[in-house]
Amino acid sequence: MDLTYGPEYNAFRAEVKAFVAANIDEQPKPGDGPRSPAVRAWQAKLIANGYHSRTIPEAYGGYGAEPDIIRSRIIAEEFSAAQMNTGFSGQGISMLTPVLLELGTEAQKQQFIRKTIHGELIWCQGYSEPGAGSDLASLTTKAELDGDEWVINGQKIWTSTAQISDWIFCLVRTEPEAPKHLGISFLLFEMNTPGIEVRPLVDMTGAANFNEVFFTDVRVPKDQIVGQRGQGWQVANAILGHERGSLAPPDAAMSRLNGVIRLMQQETIGGERAIDNPVFRDRLMRLQGRVMAMQYNDMRLLSARINKNQDTKLAGMVVKLIGTELRHEIECLGIDVLGEIGLSYGDNPYLRGNGSWQYQYMYFLGLIIGGGTSQIQKNIISERGLGMPKEPKLAASGA
């Protein structure tokens, strides 16, 4: 056990701290939209200083540093401690850019990466369909080659940011005769292409966090494909695992739990502070112990990325399952502490935390389902983590 980052990193941390101190007042304001000059300028500044797109080659608009997990961690720690804006996120940056770096053509890297990381191109992800959720590989949106163009017909769902996106990276079926995992291709196309219709999907929070996207004879140039025809499933899976753990980071859960502690110290029930109620206090402490375990688990995972001899396969697989359910319970405690006040939502004079307790309680139920449901996670953990056999497949009907 050596929990220090080592003296060689002290100078780097000091450098990050100095940047944060000098720039904290320069960061974008909460109301600045994703396309505002302030947000774009901030993004450019972060990249120029190595605080965003740190390891992306300079040739593609990144900072071009060697991968160094500890330096990345220090940046994250210092930005988080100062509540400093960390720049653009989104699926173009977190999912498409790594795919292009690994599997894209030189022309695709040149065309997309610089603009994507600078926030000039906003992307959405077209994977799930009404009939293809947990069984994603059964997707039926089809693309047929007609001369030099793909012609796309079908429907996607759960497409976040579709209404503001410039481009979409999309899984489509191009080889209908092939086995389902081998008949999919990974296409890129503009969202303003004729034949695309975006309909907001209002969810239980009252917001439209997702959309439905309909494709009717959408014509896309033939070369806007990543990888070969029929390899789209492998292309997408090169990065899907990356999404899961990041949905419920334990440090964010602990920060939220600390919010519950403050709430319990402020709110009173019959004149008694909620924190003085032993039943609520026990629930709070039980959650704190569970979050603490996930934080140390996270340190173990970080360590395993540095020290390649550590086996943390199972420790990594459980993060999405445990993290999302834990977060849902933390928000639930916040609501329960508030009692009837906790029902407040929207325009209500007694609203607490800008309505975030109820919003997050519902939102995290969405995350328990999204990104691979808890049940799919349990299949993965039992099969790939514990080596248990797959459920036998039903004989295909009519085959």
């Binding site: 056990m1 500890i70 173990r300 399952l321 953990i381 039992s382 514990l386 080596g387 056999p389």
Partner: protein, 354 residues
């Protein structure tokens, strides 16, 4: 930065695992359960591996390792439901003596010449009329659920969290085995009548150091026991067939196993950190230890129940012997502080209790 076990710690775990598989299989555990006195033969073997002096400094004849190593050993002993007094003699008693600066008895403990029990239940949460009074250096009273019914001496919690050393050969000393569900470690009731007692310390921090060490190692014992129950469930489900297929291929069974694994696996890092932080004297150690013991009590209890269910009717029988792990986990939950008590202590440490 390295968050994990060192190569030496893994080797330590491997060598003890090999020894236990070979020398203390389940049949031996069953034999000790029938005759508690046989635990001395098991303990004798473990002392030859150096476990009695694991955390005792080399200057006093020990191995000089830290609590993280004690955690690693504790997990291994829990995995194999190994009988014997490791927790009391090799962890809590030396921790108390070292913290109290009373080092003259350490060499005998390290050499395995002495089993030292601990009677600390009254400091954690006294039940019934248990308690001690002291006059003229003599202890009188009752201590319940003292760890180790075969010890040569005991460290006893006295008034005001003072700690005393009493010898089991003292004419005023009597004890009675308290039979419990867990036959792998023994508990007893001490009755002291004007027993000649040596005051070890009147500093309550010493008691705390002993409790912290005992709690983290006991949590690791539960981690090991629960891990073994999970492994047994996965193995059993992989060979038991119903409806013409192994039951491990049913999602209902797989999901139970996945739930056990996903709750248990993060506990490993929590326990390691607790042992490491105690060894380093880190300020966050006590909070982590309270949470580690409380959380492991809950997770291990869930695993104990769920693994038994995965085994179906066989899990309920004595044939498979799964109940030894179930009961070990059950005992760990109550000893040295219940999860409810430890969570309240965690809140107190953070000054959240008015």
């Amino acid at each position: 930065m390295e968050f994990g076990l060192s190569q030496e710690q893994v080797l330590l775990q491997d060598s003890i695992t090999r020894y236990l598989k070979d020398q203390v299989p389940l049949d031996k555990v069953r034999a000790v359960a029938e005759d508690p006195g046989l635990d001395q033969s098991v303990w004798h073997g473990l002392t030859e591996l150096g476990l009695a002096g694991l955390i005792i400094p080399e200057a006093h004849g020990g191995v000089g390792l830290g609590l993280l190593e004690a955690v690693v050993v504790g997990e291994t002993l829990g995995y194999h439901v190994t009988p014997g007094p490791f927790l009391s003699t090799a962890v809590i008693a030396p921790s108390l003596l070292i913290a109290a600066g009373q080092t003259d008895r350490l060499a005998d403990i390290a050499a395995g010449r002495y089993r030292v029990g601990v009677a600390l239940s009254e400091a954690v949460g006294a039940r019934l009329d248990a308690g001690m009074t002291v006059s003229d250096g003599r202890l009188t009273g009752k201590a319940l659920f003292a760890l180790d019914a075969s010890a040569d001496a005991y460290i006893v919690n006295g008034p005001n969290r003072q700690l005393y050393w009493v010898d089991a050969k003292d004419p005023g000393f009597t004890r009675a085995l308290l039979t419990t569900i867990d036959k792998t470690r023994t508990l007893c009731e001490l009755k002291l009548d004007q027993v000649d007692a040596t005051l070890l310390t009147d500093d309550p921090a010493v008691l705390q150091a002993g409790l912290d060490a005992g709690r983290i190692v006991q949590a690791s014992d539960s981690l090991g026991a629960a891990q073994c129950m999970l492994d047994q469930a996965v193995a059993y489900a992989g060979q038991r067939e119903q409806f013409n297929r192994v039951i491990a291929s049913f999602q209902a069974v797989k999901h139970l196993c996945a739930e056990m694994a996903s709750q248990l696996e993060p506990c490993r890092a929590l326990i390691w950190y607790g042992g490491h932080a105690l060894s380093e004297g880190d300020g966050s150690a006590r909070l982590t230890v309270c949470h580690a013991k409380a959380h492991l009590s809950e997770v291990a209890q869930f695993v104990a129940r769920t693994s038994t269910e995965v085994h179906g009717g066989m899990g309920f029988t004595d044939l498979v012997g799964l109940h030894y792990w179930f009961k070990r986990i059950g005992a760990n939950r109550q000893l040295l502080g219940s999860p409810e008590g430890l969570r309240e202590e965690a809140a107190r440490i953070q000054m959240l209790v008015a």
